[in-house]
Symmetry: C2
């Protein structure tokens, strides 16, 4: 597949090498490619290590992509993606974002409870197929499930379009995920986004970001 | 131990027989014992099956109890327990409540995100030792962890008093729990209470209430 990975942070650093190794074409989208290459040293290192990665503006990264990953930081992703709505018509948009404002010391979620970033994104892109997933994990754990408990934990998918969830579930399986649980429509993004508070406290309690939630049934 | 179990709903029905079988003295607290015995047929059956259960008013159930369990419905529990603050000084109060108003069709949490029922209860009972636990499970699963995945899942404890968490953890172990994870202070009740949205969606996705969350690390 041709995959547009929007955002040059931790999720991009985890996903891009894995997706390339699975023989996908990967285009990375950023606000300003020149600024990213000049000011984001971690990304510059990634780019020099993986010459196949193409870096473009958000708008130039999307055309031709079979699947688009929203890995833009939570507070700004809806505003960043809204202008791309026409280019994203009919596309699968994988949303891994978290509604956390990390700039606040005592992090709280916004939106929460009666709305979610997944739903906001689906409303902003009404003719795209938004699938929320991977957002209950550290970036490193997203693409390396086997590093935690031999991969015996659960990844969740939420979305209104069954065929889009099937495409995403297959991609997750190719990344090593064994237990992909379909939580329902995009409304269920509230559930996984509200687990962020649990993720933070659990992370502190177990002393590592490398843990996963398993639904035992 | 002498345990006061406040509330006559599903949690009481699950906990009371197990606690009796572990040789604890169990006193059940309710607003009006006469009304409960007359109008709550399920409780009347429980009482006739377990004659050792004593039914008292909330106020009469608490004195002499080593440990008090708040199994009163979420929206009203803080108001119901606040008048008992003097009798609860120094006591361990196990809070299993959920901040759900089940009377609303599209259930949302209140409080959420910036507060929790566990914290409200601790503020209402400042000289008691509130420990939030078991609230990520159906009532039936609370006392029968082994019925789910051979008991290989996690129960969480949140509270500001380490000795109270130790007492509660020991009680949980006696109920069959193998993985008791200390999440931190009572503030971390926010985390487990916010998992309720996940509990509901997961319950629908897997088609049963008998599931558990395991922290795989």
């Amino acid at each position: 597949m041709r995959i547009a990975l929007l955002g040059t942070g931790a999720v991009c650093h985890a996903l891009a090498p894995e997706l390339l190794s699975l023989d996908h074409d990967v285009v990375v989208g950023t606000r300003s490619p020149r600024t990213t290459l000049e000011a984001n040293k971690a990304y510059a290192r990634l780019a020099s290590r993986y010459p196949a990665l193409e870096l473009r503006t958000f708008a130039d990264a999307v055309p031709g992509a079979d699947l688009v990953v929203n890995a833009i930081d939570g507070p700004s992703c809806v505003a960043a993606l809204t202008p791309l709505a026409p280019a994203l018509v009919g596309r699968v948009v994988v949303d891994v974002s978290s509604p956390f404002d990390w700039s606040v010391p005592d992090a709280v979620l916004d939106p929460v409870n009666t709305d979610s970033l997944g739903e906001r994104l689906q409303r902003a892109l009404p003719r795209s197929k938004v699938v929320k997933t991977l957002n209950t994990l550290s970036a490193q754990a997203m693409t390396a499930p086997a590093l935690i408990g031999d991969g015996d934990h659960t990844v969740f998918v939420s979305g209104d379009d069954a065929s889009a969830k099937a495409v995403v579930s297959e991609l997750l399986t190719s990344l090593g995920w064994k237990d992909v649980l379909d939580l329902g429509g995009i409304r269920s993004a509230r559930a996984t986004e509200m687990m962020l508070r649990m993720w933070i406290d659990t992370s502190a309690a177990v002393g590592t970001h490398m843990f996963g939630f398993k639904i035992v049934r």
